[in-house]
Amino acid sequence: MHSVGISLLIVFVVLACILGVASGLIWLERRLLALWQDRYGPNRVGPFGLLQVLADIIKILMKEDWIPPFADKPVFVIAPAITVITTLLSFSVIVFAPGITVVDLGIGVLLFLAMSSLGVYSLVLAGWSSDNKYSLLGGLRAAAQMLSYELFVGLSLMGVVMLAGSFRIADIVEAQRGLWFCGPQFVGFVIFFIAGLAETHRLPLDLPEADNELVAGYHSEYSGMKFGLFFLGEYIGITLISAMIATFFFGGWLGPVLPGLLWFIIKTFFFICLFIALRAALPRPRYDQLMSVSWKWILPLALLNLLVTGAILVSRTT
Protein backbone atom coordinates (compact mmCIF):
# COMPACT_ATOMS: atom_id res chain seq x y z
CA MET A 1 0.00 0.00 0.00
CA HIS A 2 1.21 3.48 -0.85
CA SER A 3 1.42 6.50 1.39
CA VAL A 4 -1.23 9.18 0.93
CA GLY A 5 1.18 11.49 -0.92
CA ILE A 6 2.09 8.93 -3.59
CA SER A 7 -1.56 7.92 -4.02
CA LEU A 8 -2.58 11.56 -4.54
CA LEU A 9 0.28 12.01 -7.01
CA ILE A 10 -0.88 8.93 -8.98
CA VAL A 11 -4.47 10.23 -8.98
CA PHE A 12 -3.52 13.61 -10.42
CA VAL A 13 -0.99 12.24 -12.91
CA VAL A 14 -3.53 9.70 -14.17
CA LEU A 15 -6.25 12.34 -14.37
CA ALA A 16 -4.00 14.76 -16.27
CA CYS A 17 -2.80 12.00 -18.63
CA ILE A 18 -6.32 10.75 -19.40
CA LEU A 19 -7.69 14.23 -20.07
CA GLY A 20 -4.62 15.06 -22.16
CA VAL A 21 -4.88 11.83 -24.15
CA ALA A 22 -8.64 12.26 -24.65
CA SER A 23 -8.26 15.77 -26.07
CA GLY A 24 -5.19 14.76 -28.06
CA LEU A 25 -7.27 12.00 -29.61
CA ILE A 26 -9.44 14.60 -31.33
CA TRP A 27 -6.38 15.76 -33.26
CA LEU A 28 -5.14 12.20 -33.81
CA GLU A 29 -8.50 11.03 -35.12
CA ARG A 30 -8.83 13.94 -37.55
CA ARG A 31 -5.28 13.46 -38.83
CA LEU A 32 -5.61 9.69 -39.21
CA LEU A 33 -9.01 9.94 -40.91
CA ALA A 34 -7.56 12.54 -43.25
CA LEU A 35 -4.61 10.27 -44.01
CA TRP A 36 -6.90 7.38 -44.89
CA GLN A 37 -9.15 9.61 -46.97
CA ASP A 38 -6.19 11.04 -48.89
CA ARG A 39 -6.30 14.62 -47.57
CA TYR A 40 -4.33 16.71 -45.06
CA GLY A 41 -6.53 17.24 -42.00
CA PRO A 42 -5.76 19.99 -39.48
CA ASN A 43 -2.12 20.99 -40.10
CA ARG A 44 -2.01 24.78 -39.65
CA VAL A 45 -2.02 25.51 -35.89
CA GLY A 46 1.41 24.71 -34.41
CA PRO A 47 3.72 21.89 -35.53
CA PHE A 48 1.71 19.19 -37.45
CA GLY A 49 -1.44 21.02 -36.36
CA LEU A 50 -0.94 19.81 -32.79
CA LEU A 51 -2.26 23.03 -31.27
CA GLN A 52 -5.56 22.60 -33.14
CA VAL A 53 -7.00 21.03 -29.98
CA LEU A 54 -6.11 24.13 -27.96
CA ALA A 55 -7.75 26.36 -30.55
CA ASP A 56 -10.85 24.14 -30.48
CA ILE A 57 -11.02 24.28 -26.69
CA ILE A 58 -10.75 28.08 -26.68
CA LYS A 59 -13.48 28.26 -29.31
CA ILE A 60 -15.81 25.87 -27.51
CA LEU A 61 -15.37 27.67 -24.18
CA MET A 62 -16.14 31.07 -25.75
CA LYS A 63 -19.38 29.80 -27.32
CA GLU A 64 -22.75 30.65 -25.83
CA ASP A 65 -23.78 27.96 -23.36
CA TRP A 66 -27.45 27.83 -24.28
CA ILE A 67 -30.09 25.87 -22.40
CA PRO A 68 -33.34 25.56 -24.35
CA PRO A 69 -36.28 27.14 -22.46
CA PHE A 70 -38.38 23.97 -22.93
CA ALA A 71 -35.69 21.67 -21.48
CA ASP A 72 -35.76 20.11 -18.02
CA LYS A 73 -32.98 22.33 -16.69
CA PRO A 74 -31.36 20.35 -13.81
CA VAL A 75 -31.38 17.05 -15.71
CA PHE A 76 -30.13 18.80 -18.86
CA VAL A 77 -27.15 20.14 -16.92
CA ILE A 78 -26.13 16.94 -15.08
CA ALA A 79 -26.49 14.61 -18.09
CA PRO A 80 -23.19 15.50 -19.83
CA ALA A 81 -21.28 15.36 -16.54
CA ILE A 82 -22.38 11.75 -15.87
CA THR A 83 -20.59 10.31 -18.89
CA VAL A 84 -17.28 12.02 -18.02
CA ILE A 85 -17.49 11.11 -14.31
CA THR A 86 -18.34 7.43 -14.84
CA THR A 87 -15.66 6.84 -17.48
CA LEU A 88 -13.04 8.65 -15.40
CA LEU A 89 -14.00 6.59 -12.33
CA SER A 90 -13.40 3.38 -14.29
CA PHE A 91 -9.78 4.43 -14.75
CA SER A 92 -9.29 4.24 -10.98
CA VAL A 93 -9.07 0.43 -11.09
CA ILE A 94 -6.81 0.10 -14.14
CA VAL A 95 -3.32 -1.14 -13.30
CA PHE A 96 -0.96 0.75 -15.61
CA ALA A 97 2.16 -1.08 -14.38
CA PRO A 98 2.92 -3.07 -11.22
CA GLY A 99 2.04 -0.73 -8.33
CA ILE A 100 0.89 2.15 -10.55
CA THR A 101 -2.83 2.19 -9.90
CA VAL A 102 -5.22 4.51 -8.08
CA VAL A 103 -6.97 1.82 -6.05
CA ASP A 104 -6.20 -1.90 -5.99
CA LEU A 105 -9.75 -3.09 -5.53
CA GLY A 106 -10.67 -6.77 -5.10
CA ILE A 107 -13.73 -6.20 -7.31
CA GLY A 108 -11.95 -4.12 -9.96
CA VAL A 109 -13.68 -5.75 -12.93
CA LEU A 110 -17.09 -5.27 -11.31
CA LEU A 111 -16.40 -1.58 -10.70
CA PHE A 112 -15.62 -1.17 -14.40
CA LEU A 113 -18.89 -2.94 -15.31
CA ALA A 114 -20.85 -0.86 -12.78
CA MET A 115 -19.49 2.40 -14.12
CA SER A 116 -20.11 1.48 -17.73
CA SER A 117 -23.69 0.54 -16.85
CA LEU A 118 -24.22 3.89 -15.12
CA GLY A 119 -22.83 5.72 -18.15
CA VAL A 120 -26.06 4.92 -20.03
CA TYR A 121 -27.93 7.47 -17.94
CA SER A 122 -25.95 10.29 -19.47
CA LEU A 123 -27.32 9.64 -22.95
CA VAL A 124 -30.79 8.63 -21.85
CA LEU A 125 -31.28 11.66 -19.62
CA ALA A 126 -29.79 14.02 -22.21
CA GLY A 127 -32.23 12.66 -24.78
CA TRP A 128 -35.19 12.93 -22.44
CA SER A 129 -34.45 16.34 -20.90
CA SER A 130 -33.90 18.02 -24.29
CA ASP A 131 -37.63 17.60 -25.01
CA ASN A 132 -36.96 17.18 -28.72
CA LYS A 133 -38.15 14.29 -30.86
CA TYR A 134 -34.75 13.55 -32.37
CA SER A 135 -33.09 13.67 -28.98
CA LEU A 136 -35.72 11.38 -27.49
CA LEU A 137 -35.25 8.87 -30.30
CA GLY A 138 -31.50 9.02 -29.75
CA GLY A 139 -31.96 8.50 -26.02
CA LEU A 140 -34.26 5.52 -26.60
CA ARG A 141 -31.79 3.96 -28.99
CA ALA A 142 -28.96 4.58 -26.53
CA ALA A 143 -30.88 2.92 -23.68
CA ALA A 144 -31.69 -0.25 -25.65
CA GLN A 145 -28.31 -0.50 -27.37
CA MET A 146 -26.15 0.08 -24.33
CA LEU A 147 -28.28 -2.08 -22.04
CA SER A 148 -27.97 -5.00 -24.48
CA TYR A 149 -24.27 -4.65 -25.17
CA GLU A 150 -23.41 -4.04 -21.51
CA LEU A 151 -24.55 -7.61 -20.94
CA PHE A 152 -21.99 -8.88 -23.46
CA VAL A 153 -19.22 -6.78 -21.96
CA GLY A 154 -19.92 -8.58 -18.68
CA LEU A 155 -20.39 -12.05 -20.20
CA SER A 156 -17.23 -11.85 -22.31
CA LEU A 157 -15.20 -10.80 -19.27
CA MET A 158 -16.49 -13.69 -17.17
CA GLY A 159 -14.36 -16.15 -19.18
CA VAL A 160 -11.29 -14.06 -18.35
CA VAL A 161 -12.31 -13.93 -14.69
CA MET A 162 -12.76 -17.73 -14.66
CA LEU A 163 -9.29 -18.30 -16.13
CA ALA A 164 -7.64 -15.83 -13.75
CA GLY A 165 -9.72 -16.89 -10.74
CA SER A 166 -10.07 -13.31 -9.51
CA PHE A 167 -11.89 -10.02 -10.07
CA ARG A 168 -8.73 -8.09 -9.17
CA ILE A 169 -7.20 -6.53 -12.27
CA ALA A 170 -3.60 -6.98 -11.12
CA ASP A 171 -4.27 -10.74 -10.65
CA ILE A 172 -5.82 -10.98 -14.11
CA VAL A 173 -2.72 -9.43 -15.72
CA GLU A 174 -0.40 -11.68 -13.67
CA ALA A 175 -2.36 -14.75 -14.78
CA GLN A 176 -1.46 -13.93 -18.40
CA ARG A 177 2.27 -14.32 -17.80
CA GLY A 178 2.48 -17.56 -19.79
CA LEU A 179 -0.15 -16.90 -22.44
CA TRP A 180 -2.21 -13.80 -23.19
CA PHE A 181 -5.95 -14.39 -22.81
CA CYS A 182 -6.59 -13.32 -26.41
CA GLY A 183 -5.56 -16.89 -27.29
CA PRO A 184 -7.74 -19.09 -25.04
CA GLN A 185 -10.48 -16.42 -24.88
CA PHE A 186 -10.48 -15.40 -28.54
CA VAL A 187 -14.28 -15.50 -28.78
CA GLY A 188 -14.49 -13.45 -25.59
CA PHE A 189 -12.06 -10.94 -27.05
CA VAL A 190 -14.08 -10.49 -30.24
CA ILE A 191 -17.32 -10.10 -28.28
CA PHE A 192 -15.70 -7.65 -25.88
CA PHE A 193 -14.37 -5.61 -28.78
CA ILE A 194 -17.75 -5.36 -30.52
CA ALA A 195 -19.58 -4.70 -27.26
CA GLY A 196 -17.01 -2.09 -26.30
CA LEU A 197 -17.57 -0.36 -29.62
CA ALA A 198 -21.31 -0.32 -28.94
CA GLU A 199 -20.81 0.82 -25.33
CA THR A 200 -18.76 3.83 -26.41
CA HIS A 201 -21.36 4.39 -29.19
CA ARG A 202 -18.65 5.03 -31.73
CA LEU A 203 -18.98 4.79 -35.47
CA PRO A 204 -19.92 2.30 -36.96
CA LEU A 205 -22.22 1.67 -33.98
CA ASP A 206 -23.11 5.30 -33.21
CA LEU A 207 -26.85 4.76 -33.66
CA PRO A 208 -27.83 7.04 -30.72
CA GLU A 209 -26.46 10.07 -32.56
CA ALA A 210 -26.59 8.85 -36.21
CA ASP A 211 -26.15 12.24 -37.85
CA ASN A 212 -27.92 11.54 -41.10
CA GLU A 213 -31.18 10.32 -39.55
CA LEU A 214 -31.39 11.96 -36.10
CA VAL A 215 -29.63 15.36 -36.63
CA ALA A 216 -27.24 14.68 -33.74
CA GLY A 217 -29.37 12.31 -31.69
CA TYR A 218 -29.30 12.72 -27.94
CA HIS A 219 -27.06 15.82 -27.99
CA SER A 220 -28.94 17.78 -30.66
CA GLU A 221 -29.84 20.54 -28.20
CA TYR A 222 -26.43 20.82 -26.57
CA SER A 223 -23.97 23.59 -27.32
CA GLY A 224 -20.74 25.03 -25.98
CA MET A 225 -18.86 23.14 -23.28
CA LYS A 226 -21.80 20.85 -22.45
CA PHE A 227 -21.51 19.43 -25.96
CA GLY A 228 -17.75 19.40 -25.40
CA LEU A 229 -18.25 17.19 -22.34
CA PHE A 230 -20.12 14.58 -24.39
CA PHE A 231 -17.29 14.68 -26.88
CA LEU A 232 -14.68 14.37 -24.14
CA GLY A 233 -16.63 11.51 -22.53
CA GLU A 234 -16.65 9.65 -25.85
CA TYR A 235 -12.90 9.96 -26.26
CA ILE A 236 -12.23 8.98 -22.64
CA GLY A 237 -14.50 6.00 -23.34
CA ILE A 238 -12.38 4.94 -26.33
CA THR A 239 -9.23 5.20 -24.23
CA LEU A 240 -10.91 3.21 -21.46
CA ILE A 241 -12.09 0.37 -23.70
CA SER A 242 -8.67 0.21 -25.42
CA ALA A 243 -6.92 0.09 -22.04
CA MET A 244 -9.35 -2.62 -20.90
CA ILE A 245 -8.74 -4.73 -24.03
CA ALA A 246 -4.99 -4.41 -23.44
CA THR A 247 -5.43 -5.37 -19.77
CA PHE A 248 -7.85 -8.27 -20.10
CA PHE A 249 -6.75 -9.90 -23.34
CA PHE A 250 -3.26 -8.69 -24.21
CA GLY A 251 -1.34 -8.99 -20.96
CA GLY A 252 -1.47 -5.35 -19.76
CA TRP A 253 2.02 -4.31 -18.76
CA LEU A 254 3.61 -7.70 -19.61
CA GLY A 255 6.15 -7.76 -22.43
CA PRO A 256 9.84 -8.25 -23.10
CA VAL A 257 12.69 -5.68 -22.90
CA LEU A 258 10.71 -2.44 -22.58
CA PRO A 259 9.40 -1.26 -19.16
CA GLY A 260 5.86 -2.32 -18.25
CA LEU A 261 4.28 1.12 -18.41
CA LEU A 262 5.54 1.60 -21.98
CA TRP A 263 4.11 -1.77 -23.05
CA PHE A 264 0.75 -0.80 -21.59
CA ILE A 265 0.78 2.52 -23.45
CA ILE A 266 1.82 0.87 -26.75
CA LYS A 267 -0.95 -1.74 -26.52
CA THR A 268 -3.59 0.83 -25.57
CA PHE A 269 -2.49 3.15 -28.37
CA PHE A 270 -2.70 0.32 -30.89
CA PHE A 271 -6.34 -0.36 -30.01
CA ILE A 272 -7.20 3.34 -30.05
CA CYS A 273 -5.87 3.49 -33.63
CA LEU A 274 -7.87 0.36 -34.47
CA PHE A 275 -11.04 2.09 -33.20
CA ILE A 276 -10.31 5.07 -35.44
CA ALA A 277 -9.58 2.79 -38.41
CA LEU A 278 -12.96 1.08 -37.90
CA ARG A 279 -14.63 4.47 -38.09
CA ALA A 280 -12.90 5.15 -41.38
CA ALA A 281 -13.59 1.71 -42.82
CA LEU A 282 -17.08 0.53 -41.89
CA PRO A 283 -20.56 1.87 -42.66
CA ARG A 284 -23.22 2.14 -39.98
CA PRO A 285 -25.63 -0.84 -39.70
CA ARG A 286 -29.39 -0.39 -39.40
CA TYR A 287 -30.72 -0.23 -35.85
CA ASP A 288 -32.78 -3.42 -36.05
CA GLN A 289 -29.74 -5.25 -37.48
CA LEU A 290 -27.67 -4.09 -34.53
CA MET A 291 -30.24 -5.31 -32.01
CA SER A 292 -31.03 -8.63 -33.68
CA VAL A 293 -27.34 -9.48 -34.07
CA SER A 294 -26.83 -8.76 -30.39
CA TRP A 295 -29.58 -11.05 -29.06
CA LYS A 296 -29.64 -13.73 -31.75
CA TRP A 297 -25.91 -14.23 -32.34
CA ILE A 298 -23.71 -12.60 -29.74
CA LEU A 299 -25.70 -13.76 -26.67
CA PRO A 300 -25.66 -17.51 -27.55
CA LEU A 301 -22.02 -17.21 -28.61
CA ALA A 302 -21.05 -15.55 -25.32
CA LEU A 303 -22.94 -18.17 -23.28
CA LEU A 304 -21.36 -20.99 -25.30
CA ASN A 305 -17.93 -19.47 -24.71
CA LEU A 306 -18.62 -19.43 -20.96
CA LEU A 307 -19.85 -23.03 -21.03
CA VAL A 308 -16.82 -24.32 -22.92
CA THR A 309 -14.37 -22.36 -20.76
CA GLY A 310 -16.06 -23.69 -17.62
CA ALA A 311 -16.06 -27.28 -18.91
CA ILE A 312 -12.35 -27.14 -19.79
CA LEU A 313 -11.49 -25.63 -16.41
CA VAL A 314 -13.50 -28.28 -14.54
CA SER A 315 -12.01 -31.15 -16.57
CA ARG A 316 -8.52 -29.79 -15.88
CA THR A 317 -8.97 -29.58 -12.10
CA THR A 318 -10.58 -32.99 -11.64
Partner: protein
Protein backbone atom coordinates in the same frame (compact mmCIF):
# COMPACT_ATOMS: atom_id res chain seq x y z
CA UNK B 1 -15.94 4.49 7.91
CA UNK B 2 -18.83 4.74 10.39
CA UNK B 3 -19.38 8.36 9.37
CA UNK B 4 -19.52 7.38 5.69
CA UNK B 5 -22.09 4.71 6.51
CA UNK B 6 -24.38 7.14 8.32
CA UNK B 7 -23.99 9.84 5.67
CA UNK B 8 -24.95 7.43 2.88
CA UNK B 9 -27.77 6.03 5.00
CA UNK B 10 -29.14 9.56 5.46
CA UNK B 11 -28.81 10.20 1.71
CA UNK B 12 -30.69 6.95 1.01
CA UNK B 13 -33.55 7.92 3.34
CA UNK B 14 -33.86 11.46 1.97
CA UNK B 15 -33.63 10.26 -1.65
CA UNK B 16 -36.27 7.60 -1.08
CA UNK B 17 -38.58 10.17 0.52
CA UNK B 18 -38.09 12.48 -2.46
CA UNK B 19 -38.77 9.52 -4.79
CA UNK B 20 -42.25 9.27 -3.32
CA UNK B 21 -43.05 12.96 -3.20
CA UNK B 22 -41.77 14.16 -6.62
CA UNK B 23 -44.53 14.66 -9.18
CA UNK B 24 -42.29 14.34 -12.25
CA UNK B 25 -41.82 10.61 -12.91
CA UNK B 26 -38.27 10.88 -14.27
CA UNK B 27 -37.21 13.01 -11.30
CA UNK B 28 -38.56 10.38 -8.89
CA UNK B 29 -36.67 7.70 -10.76
CA UNK B 30 -33.47 9.74 -10.54
CA UNK B 31 -33.91 10.06 -6.79
CA UNK B 32 -34.52 6.33 -6.58
CA UNK B 33 -31.30 5.65 -8.50
CA UNK B 34 -29.52 7.96 -6.06
CA UNK B 35 -31.01 5.95 -3.18
CA UNK B 36 -29.79 2.69 -4.74
CA UNK B 37 -26.29 4.10 -5.16
CA UNK B 38 -26.31 5.16 -1.50
CA UNK B 39 -27.33 1.59 -0.58
CA UNK B 40 -24.40 0.34 -2.63
CA UNK B 41 -22.03 2.58 -0.67
CA UNK B 42 -23.51 1.26 2.59
CA UNK B 43 -22.85 -2.34 1.55
CA UNK B 44 -19.33 -1.41 0.50
CA UNK B 45 -18.56 0.23 3.84
CA UNK B 46 -19.92 -2.82 5.67
CA UNK B 47 -17.41 -5.00 3.78
CA UNK B 48 -19.86 -6.63 1.36
CA UNK B 49 -18.02 -5.35 -1.72
CA UNK B 50 -19.45 -7.93 -4.09
CA UNK B 51 -23.03 -7.16 -3.10
CA UNK B 52 -22.29 -3.43 -3.42
CA UNK B 53 -21.08 -3.94 -6.99
CA UNK B 54 -24.12 -6.06 -7.84
CA UNK B 55 -26.52 -3.43 -6.45
CA UNK B 56 -24.95 -0.84 -8.73
CA UNK B 57 -24.69 -3.07 -11.81
CA UNK B 58 -28.08 -4.78 -11.63
CA UNK B 59 -30.40 -2.48 -9.72
CA UNK B 60 -29.08 0.96 -10.63
CA UNK B 61 -27.46 0.07 -13.95
CA UNK B 62 -29.90 -2.33 -15.57
CA UNK B 63 -33.34 -2.42 -13.95
CA UNK B 64 -33.65 1.33 -13.53
CA UNK B 65 -32.47 1.95 -17.09
CA UNK B 66 -35.36 -0.23 -18.22
CA UNK B 67 -37.75 1.83 -16.07
CA UNK B 68 -36.44 5.07 -17.56
CA UNK B 69 -36.65 3.49 -21.02
CA UNK B 70 -40.31 2.54 -20.57
CA UNK B 71 -41.20 5.98 -19.21
CA UNK B 72 -39.48 7.61 -22.17
CA UNK B 73 -41.38 5.30 -24.54
CA UNK B 74 -44.68 6.34 -22.95
CA UNK B 75 -43.49 9.97 -23.21
CA UNK B 76 -45.79 11.27 -20.47
CA UNK B 77 -46.57 14.96 -20.84
CA UNK B 78 -47.06 17.68 -18.21
CA UNK B 79 -50.63 16.47 -17.52
CA UNK B 80 -49.21 13.41 -15.72
CA UNK B 81 -47.54 15.72 -13.21
CA UNK B 82 -50.97 17.25 -12.45
CA UNK B 83 -52.43 13.77 -12.05
CA UNK B 84 -49.65 12.84 -9.70
CA UNK B 85 -50.12 16.03 -7.70
CA UNK B 86 -53.81 15.23 -7.32
CA UNK B 87 -52.99 11.73 -6.10
CA UNK B 88 -50.58 12.94 -3.42
CA UNK B 89 -53.32 14.45 -1.20
CA UNK B 90 -52.87 14.13 2.59
CA UNK B 91 -55.68 11.61 3.11
CA UNK B 92 -53.89 9.16 0.79
CA UNK B 93 -51.00 9.08 3.21
CA UNK B 94 -52.96 7.83 6.23
CA UNK B 95 -53.11 4.11 5.40
CA UNK B 96 -49.50 3.59 4.26
CA UNK B 97 -48.33 5.89 7.06
CA UNK B 98 -50.01 3.74 9.73
CA UNK B 99 -48.62 0.51 8.28
CA UNK B 100 -45.12 2.01 8.05
CA UNK B 101 -45.40 3.22 11.64
CA UNK B 102 -46.14 -0.34 12.77
CA UNK B 103 -43.09 -1.58 10.85
CA UNK B 104 -40.96 1.17 12.40
CA UNK B 105 -42.08 0.22 15.92
CA UNK B 106 -41.25 -3.42 15.20
CA UNK B 107 -37.84 -2.45 13.83
CA UNK B 108 -36.95 -0.25 16.80
CA UNK B 109 -38.15 -2.95 19.21
CA UNK B 110 -36.06 -5.68 17.57
CA UNK B 111 -33.01 -3.41 17.32
CA UNK B 112 -33.24 -2.63 21.04
CA UNK B 113 -33.67 -6.28 21.91
CA UNK B 114 -31.16 -8.17 19.75
CA UNK B 115 -28.27 -5.70 19.17
CA UNK B 116 -27.74 -6.78 15.59
CA UNK B 117 -26.05 -3.60 14.39
CA UNK B 118 -22.48 -4.91 14.64
CA UNK B 119 -20.60 -6.43 11.71
CA UNK B 120 -17.26 -8.14 11.74
CA UNK B 121 -15.83 -5.48 9.44
CA UNK B 122 -14.22 -8.16 7.29
CA UNK B 123 -14.46 -7.94 3.54
CA UNK B 124 -16.70 -10.61 2.04
CA UNK B 125 -15.33 -11.43 -1.40
CA UNK B 126 -17.07 -12.84 -4.48
CA UNK B 127 -15.82 -16.36 -3.76
CA UNK B 128 -17.44 -16.47 -0.31
CA UNK B 129 -20.73 -15.18 -1.74
CA UNK B 130 -20.55 -17.82 -4.48
CA UNK B 131 -19.89 -20.73 -2.16
CA UNK B 132 -22.69 -19.57 0.16
CA UNK B 133 -25.17 -19.21 -2.72
CA UNK B 134 -24.41 -22.56 -4.35
CA UNK B 135 -23.88 -24.38 -1.03
CA UNK B 136 -26.47 -23.91 1.74
CA UNK B 137 -28.76 -21.61 -0.31
CA UNK B 138 -28.88 -23.68 -3.50
CA UNK B 139 -32.64 -24.23 -3.23
CA UNK B 140 -33.30 -20.48 -3.06
CA UNK B 141 -31.09 -19.87 -6.12
CA UNK B 142 -32.95 -22.58 -8.06
CA UNK B 143 -36.33 -21.15 -7.04
CA UNK B 144 -35.22 -17.67 -8.13
CA UNK B 145 -34.11 -19.04 -11.49
CA UNK B 146 -37.52 -20.75 -11.91
CA UNK B 147 -39.19 -17.41 -11.19
CA UNK B 148 -36.99 -15.72 -13.81
CA UNK B 149 -37.84 -18.44 -16.33
CA UNK B 150 -41.53 -17.87 -15.67
CA UNK B 151 -41.04 -14.14 -16.19
CA UNK B 152 -39.15 -14.80 -19.42
CA UNK B 153 -41.88 -17.08 -20.75
CA UNK B 154 -44.53 -14.52 -19.81
CA UNK B 155 -42.65 -11.75 -21.62
CA UNK B 156 -42.22 -14.01 -24.65
CA UNK B 157 -45.92 -14.79 -24.70
CA UNK B 158 -46.89 -11.11 -24.47
CA UNK B 159 -44.40 -10.20 -27.20
CA UNK B 160 -45.74 -12.91 -29.48
CA UNK B 161 -49.29 -11.68 -28.94
CA UNK B 162 -48.35 -8.20 -30.08
CA UNK B 163 -46.66 -9.61 -33.17
CA UNK B 164 -49.72 -11.56 -34.32
CA UNK B 165 -51.91 -8.56 -33.63
CA UNK B 166 -49.72 -6.43 -35.87
CA UNK B 167 -49.62 -9.15 -38.53
CA UNK B 168 -53.39 -9.25 -38.65
CA UNK B 169 -53.54 -5.58 -39.68
CA UNK B 170 -53.79 -5.17 -43.45
Amino acid sequence: MTAIFYISAAIAVVATFLTITRVNVVHSLLYFICSLLATGVMFFVLGATFVAALVVIINAGAIMVLFVFVIMMLNVGPQSADQERARLRPHVWIGPGLLSLLLLIELVYSLGRYHTGVTSGQTVGPQQVGTALFGPYLLAVELASMLLLAGLLGAYHLGRGVMTFMDRKP
